[in-house]
């Protein structure tokens, strides 16, 4: 293994060899300890030469990333090839190996998130997560619509909703995944292969679970890549004919509509600054 390091424009740059493996765990640990001594807040791994990343080396880099974060520092990757990027995605490591196009982008991303509110940067991870979750788990391709502000007298049809309370240093709020009954039953069939005619207590937790996975994915992106500090949360389910969600916050709810082969549904996101 042959890694070279340099400091450039406030970035600790580590050029990685063609094969990354953990053949000698002691030597790897000593090397990482050396990297951690750098005072640079941003560490970047250059993967230009890398064509093989063995899973045995995951632990070293996961712990390296953890040690950096514990000290308010960030880790990014440049020049990641498509194959290894796919490997990281399948193995759930995209939040450890965050890709950037340049050292400048790494420095920008490493700047802590200031302020809060429902803006595009906050909404986009939820849209991406909803598409990923339903496409993978229920084989449904979604078409997101344009986000819009929910008006007080809006009557958005729904019979079941998964609800998660949002909580972090900067704000509180909620995220709600809302389905019409017919759409929910078709999505449930896509998830489990089971066909049902009505929403029963046995199957209604699917609304909570879908939202749980969407929230988990979005939270990982928002916390690891955009500086948010969203807490874990357990979802709940609301059901009822002509169900309506009232949000007691001063801020308006943002509605993100989706269309799908199972029918339309939507996300409602409300955020209130602490």
């Amino acid at each position: 293994m042959h890694y070279t390091t340099s400091e450039k424009d406030g970035v600790h740059l580590i050029t990685c060899p063609s094969t990354i493996e953990s053949a000698d765990a002691g030597a790897m640990d000593a090397m990482v300890k050396g990297w951690l001594l750098s005072s640079a807040k941003v560490h970047v791994l250059d993967f230009k030469a890398v064509n093989l990343f063995k899973p045995t080396a995951y632990r070293t880099f996961v712990l390296y990333n953890q040690a950096l974060k514990a000290n308010g520092k960030s880790l990014f990757v440049v020049n990641l090839n498509t194959e290894i990027g796919r490997q990281f995605k399948q193995d759930g490591l995209t939040s450890v190996f965050v890709t950037v196009a340049s050292l400048d982008e790494a420095l920008k991303k490493a700047s802590p998130k200031s302020g809060s509110g429902v803006d595009v940067e906050f909404i986009n991870p939820f849209i991406a997560a909803a598409r990923s979750v339903l496409e993978t788990q229920a084989k449904l391709v979604l078409t997101p619509g344009k986000p819009m502000i929910k008006k007080a007298d809006d009557r958005l049809p729904m019979e079941i909703a998964g609800v998660i309370a949002l909580s972090c240093k900067e704000f509180t709020g909620s995220i709600n995944l809302c389905f019409r009954g017919e759409t929910f039953l078709k999505i449930y069939e896509g998830l489990t292969g089971e066909k049902h005619d009505t929403i029963t207590t046995e199957i209604e937790d699917a609304a909570a679970e879908i939202l749980n996975i969407i929230f988990g994915q979005a939270k990982t992106v928002l916390n690891d890549q955009k500086g948010y500090t969203l807490d874990r949360a357990l979802p709940t389910v609301l059901t009822g004919e002509r169900l309506r969600l009232y949000h007691s916050s001063k801020s308006p709810a943002i509605v993100i509509p989706f269309d799908s082969p199972a029918g339309p549904f939507h996300l409602e996101i409300v955020v209130e600054k602490s």
Binding site: E202, D205, A206, I213
Partner: protein, 132 residues
């Protein structure tokens, strides 16, 4: 790969997710599958099993004993510390992955997952645990 007769324990507080995992396990070839709705019930099932459980696939975020707490109990008990354990999680933040690794998880799967990904992860887990 695990022998198809391996007794599998699927742990998740959401019945829907248990159905998804059980179906995927059956599609892989497993036939002896038991379920638990939280970490505490899973721990009781592990101790009460008349034939040994050979693989645990557990959700992480559950009330009344999380998957991580279940993992720590299993690894702390000499009778079960070598039990192959896979965490199924909706979250993959770096520090959480690191915590799972430190606690002795054999593999983890980030939801959502395809049956093909589950199979690959279980093959990796089997390879890892048979050589320890």
């Amino acid at each position: 790969m695990f022998d198809p007769t391996t007794k599998v324990l699927v742990v998740d507080d959401m019945m829907t997710m248990r159905k998804i995992v059980v179906k995927a396990c059956k599609d892989i070839g497993f036939s002896d599958i038991i379920e638990a709705a939280d970490g505490q019930k899973a721990w009781e099932a592990i101790q009460a099993a008349t034939s040994p459980i050979g693989l645990v696939i557990s959700d992480w975020n559950m009330p009344n004993c999380t998957g991580l707490d279940l993992l720590k109990r299993v690894r702390a008990d000499g009778r079960y510390k070598a039990l192959p354990f896979v965490l199924l999680t909706a979250e993959s933040e770096g520090h959480e992955v690191a915590e799972a690794v430190k606690s002795g998880v054999d593999n983890y799967i980030v939801k959502p997952f395809t049956p093909e990904l589950l199979q690959r992860k279980l093959e990796e887990t089997h390879k890892k645990t048979t050589t320890r």
